[in-house]
């Protein structure tokens, strides 16, 4: 009954408390992870999902993964921040399935949740000078000093905080009866590294190629090839941040074995080369 929600997993990447001034100014950032902010004093602004959000004390903000956003602080503000990955079923995102709010009033205990999250995840503070070292550390730490209590408590707190933003409504698909087509999204997510031609997907749905392309476009408002490419690049962004794999390995893993084609496509979609993306994206 909560099928999608039951399979939701959350993985913390960063957590910390930051005092930020006017140097907090970034344009057109896109990340493979979601961010949560809780502002305690001061003001700032964030632009995403086509709106400006004024960051103000006493509110929580959610910035979903893979959304373009810009950050801007005029003078000074302090914030708790958390970033995390989310996944439902195999490689799907909860944002594809459910609608979300992006700003909610904080309750009395939210500050405690954030404080506790930071307290039990001391190694998750962003030290922006050496982003790479930080990634490597957070990935390899799994081997030593793992604390099951803190891990599970972190999972719990993330779930509570994330719960504040989720709405009951499903994401509207543009089309009508697309029960079958939703399955093809999962199929795509699971088979990114393989050949995903229209012929293959149409056969999977028992549709003719024409009929498949048309229904896909009608349901999701995007052509299947473009959608697949987007998903390949999203997966690549994810792997760039979460693994130490080489670009070549990553390219192969997302089904774009030709590395120069991979780099070109990546740049076209993200606006940045894969190598630069890996280097830069931790600066916030």
């Amino acid at each position: 009954m909560y099928k999608e929600l039951e399979s939701l997993t959350l993985d913390i990447l960063h957590a910390g408390y930051a005092k930020l001034d006017s140097s907090w100014k970034y344009d057109d950032v896109i990340s493979p992870f979601s961010r949560l902010f809780y502002v305690t004093t001061g003001n700032a602004s964030v632009f995403y999902t086509n709106q400006w959000f004024k960051l103000e004390p006493g509110y929580l903000y959610l910035i979903p993964s893979f959304t373009y956003n810009s950050y801007y602080c005029e003078k000074y503000h302090e914030q708790f921040y958390v970033s995390f990955f989310e996944e439902v079923q195999q490689g799907m995102s909860i944002y594809n399935l459910k609608q979300f709010k992006y700003k909610v009033k904080a309750t009395k205990n939210d500050a405690l949740y954030f404080k506790r999250l930071v307290e039990i995840n001391p190694d998750k503070v962003v030290t922006d000078s050496k982003p790479k070292a930080h990634i490597n550390r957070s990935l390899s730490e799994k081997n030593k000093g793992f604390n099951a209590h803190h891990y599970m408590e972190t999972q719990g707190i993330l779930s509570v905080l994330f719960s504040r933003f989720i709405l009951d409504a499903d994401v509207d698909n543009l089309g009508g009866s697309d029960g079958d087509l939703n399955k093809v999204l999962i199929y795509i997510a699971k088979n990114l590294k393989n050949d995903l031609s229209i012929a293959v997907l149409a056969r999977y749905c028992n549709f003719s190629e024409d009929h498949f392309s048309r229904s896909f476009n009608a349901s999701f408002g995007i052509r299947p090839n473009k959608y697949i490419q987007q998903k390949r690049i999203e997966k690549a962004q994810f792997l760039l941040v979460t693994t130490e794999k080489s670009l070549k390995q990553i390219a192969a893993e997302v089904g774009l074995a030709n590395i120069s084609y991979f780099s070109r496509t990546f740049k076209k979609i993200v606006g940045n080369s894969p190598a630069n993306f890996r280097k830069q994206h931790f600066d916030i």
């Binding site: 997993t9 205990n109 099951a148 719990g156 779930s159 905080l161 719960s163 504040r164």
Partner: protein, 286 residues
Amino acid sequence: MQDYLKYLRFFLLNIDLVKLDASWDYDNVISPFVRMYLITSGHAYVYHNDKKFDLKPGYMYLIPSYTYSRYKCELQHEQLYISFMEEIGNGLSVFSFNDFRYQIKSSKLDTYYFKRLLEINPNRSLLDDNPHKYKSFSSFLELKKTRLNSSFYLETQGLLKILLSRFIVEGNRSSEKRERRDIDKVLVYLLENLHENLTVERLAAFSNLSKDHFSRSFYEKYKMRPNLYIQSKRVERAQLLLHTTNDSIKAISEKVGFDNFSYFSKVFKKITGKTPANYKKEQSQV
């Protein structure tokens, strides 16, 4: 490596704040669900895992699923209680991966977590103090129908995780752990195939071990022979199904891998001390 914890899921059964008196006196309880108590006043006792736990204010208590327990209250006490089921992936239990304490000091925040859970999960009290009127398997089906909104669902999952995390004992059994992991794979396989013909040969083949070698290492790690283990898991699954479905006992016996119904009843009785029918009737009493 510890990723399995992120697949931990809960199904909340009951939650309430109740005042209990000397009629809270039950023997030989064994349930397919987990119980958690936070005592707000008074005194009582619980016996389980060969220990007597003195229930007193300011502490929280955990009683894992499938644990024989005895409950007794001499005068009266008041408790916030939660019962829930938990699962990791396909039928695995967190209690087979981690060690837990059964009693810990509770903080002000813990009380808040309980109260918040109660607030967002109303109408989940045990319906009647009279145990014979309470049929937990049918009310379980009712519960399934009461759907929380997505937000409260996620919050409930989160709060239960936070609460349960407080009881975890950090494993300093790291040397054992790796060995356990290989065997754990067999456990997953076993649980996923309970309804099939599970022989020691098949499990040995799955583990790439000879039959003898497999039986011996299994026994060393679990102090239980594989066949007995399979049977006890089948019976546990049957107990769960007796609680959570209206399936006939015969249907359940088939679902848990017994072709022969009378053999199922015999094994069930050997392990739980009760026939499946009696179990279904009596189990709902606490």
